[in-house]
Symmetry: C2
Subunit: 326 residues, 2 copies
DNA sequence: AAAAAAGTTGAAAGCGCTTACAGATTGGTT
DNA sequence: AACCAATCTGTAAGCGCTTTCAACTTTTTT
């Protein structure tokens, strides 16, 4: 069943069928009805592939995310998808983890599928292997990077003020009298580095004692490593983490060791995910504005596709969410 | 830049270029190298759209999910996407919420994009408006329903033993001496109904006193409604919820009211999401096997696409995860 | 060395649509 | 009644590829 079959049965040309299908051009009312009747009769589904062949667009964009099982990425991806739906685009979702090879093969696939654009959600800090492919693809289609930056032409960046967020967090804790800081980070991403930078800035500014530890993602890792740290006699009165889940693991260890939170130690998470509301005491955290990040990316994208000149970089401001843990 | 340009520059026919591009047919080594050199030189990206036009497949499948911000759906969608990647398929992700109109328009879009299959993740209990479209689309492409059932030809169902899960939960709590049960459910899905059925079965079996309450999704709803219930003097010693998050909201209220969990009241969640590890006490829950659900769907799908005869319905067994709250 | 087999290549059709462009029809004017 | 403009419709080209089929080349067999 194709457009020819419909045209034959409706006794018109395929051009006419195409016009009623797309509501383009002008078609006499009687003709339109005749065609629509046949369309309905056969429950006709036009081929977007064939249309894409002609128009050179499948009205699809690729979203390359780290891992949607992480609530932050899920929220960003969700808001992207919903915003794109309104614009009539569908989204191909790709989870790459921190695997460069997987990212490369996804980028290649998206380029071949001629997506109208690619939105990268999160990016590793430095990955030289990605530079050339990104530059090459960006010559063909615009690339939007959420929490990342490439700086090539036709490459756009939406960033959260991660550095500022960490600075604000430390400032706040200092104002509460905290003096010895522990920072727990969990992945070598662009954002991760921004956060780390913010922490270091703040520590230097306030001339604080501090410790920085890498902890692989996961609540149990955080719990265990925190316990080890304490058992080895580490001392601190403020714990900051790059993810809510890490903060919660640490928090649970503290509580199990009968260290009071926030009386003895303040704990702050990051992302304001639903997790931060599940623990006791409720976690103070940073609202990383996942929804706004996604929406902004799509709004930038729609302006690019409309041919407007668009700023290469947008920054979204940091906001603390103070609850019980700090 | 298309296959003709490459062919001209390499001094071969487009058929030959196509062969080296796809590694199909046989090409003399010298010829292959000649072509590959040109391919590399221009960094050629073949058009999957044009290929799709010929082969009538874009190697893409549509995943229609309720909302990936919910961890369960995120996990299922993730495992689907990863399993599909291995098979060389990309996935178009669609979040529909509980909105029938949105679901319909997504289904139409997927049909037009000629996806090789559609995987529905979660489905509303009864939605007659969906029946006809589902049946019509299933005549064109196979539809896999995770936690749902249609029963049309070319329609396949992957179900979790939700009914059994609730029965087991109640059985367990009865064995612990619990007598007055409260069940909190949050959405009118197929699974939701199965769970409810399981709860009712078990209550009848054990001849228990019970109350059933609908609570809209969200931790704050659960918290508030639970508190109201208690303030109105409701009495129970076991609370079951259809989602971890609901259980946690209830749990927090109980704790705030100085009701001890699990000493005075047992609480059980559902899904074994990371949330269940974030609260204190840790939540006992049901492992809903999100990863296995997704993987099973894809393995069923791959057999369908390979032309094998496949059972129309697969059921995955229920498993309790006992922790501190019950 | 001739014939048969195997390997390699190219010409051309066709996938299902959109979109100039031209031609046909309609309606409105004089 | 003749004419022009506006509206409607159809013809045909072309989007970039895969694949069949036939032709040509090389290798193997006798």
């Amino acid at each position: 069943m194709n457009i020819y079959d419909i045209a034959r049965e409706a006794n018109v040309s395929i051009a006419t069928v195409s016009r009623v299908l797309n509501g383009s051009g002008s078609v006499r009312d009687l003709t339109r009805q005749k065609v629509e009747r046949v369309l309905k009769k056969y429950n006709y589904v036009p081929s977007a592939i064939a249309r894409g062949m002609v128009t050179n667009s499948m009205k699809t964009i690729g979203v390359v995310s780290i891992d949607i099982r992480n609530l932050y990425y899920a929220n960003v991806s969700y808001s992207i998808e919903q915003a794109l739906r309104v614009l009539g685009f569908s989204t191909i979702l790709c989870n790459t983890g921190y695997n460069t090879g997987q990212k490369l093969s996804y980028l290649k696939m998206l380029a071949e599928k001629k997506v109208d654009s690619i939105i990268l959600v999160g990016s590793t800090f430095k990955d030289p292997k990605l530079n050339k492919p990104i530059r090459e693809i960006s010559e063909l289609i615009p690339i939007i990077i959420i929490n990342g930056y490439y700086g090539y032409p036709n490459t756009y960046s939406i960033q959260y003020e991660d550095t500022g967020a960490l600075e604000k967090s430390v400032d706040y804790l200092v104002s509460k009298g905290r003096k010895k800081f522990l920072y727990l980070y969990d992945a070598d991403t662009f954002s991760g580095n921004q956060k780390l930078l913010g922490f270091k800035n703040a520590v230097k500014k306030h001339n604080l004692e501090s410790d920085i530890r890498f902890i692989p993602p996961g609540i149990d890792h955080a719990y265990r490593q925190m316990c080890e740290l304490i058992e080895r006699g580490a001392f601190f009165d403020a714990v900051l983490a790059s993810e809510d889940i890490t903060a919660i693991g640490a928090l649970q260890c503290l509580l199990d060791k009968n260290i009071r939170v926030p009386e003895d130690v303040s704990v702050m998470g990051y992302n304001n995910s639903i997790l931060s509301l599940c623990c006791t005491p409720r976690l103070s955290t940073v609202d990383s504005m996942s929804e706004e990040m996604g929406k902004t990316a799509v709004s930038v994208l729609s302006r690019i596709l409309a041919g407007e000149k668009v700023e290469a970089s947008v920054k979204i401001g940091a906001k603390l969410v103070l609850r019980q843990s700090a």
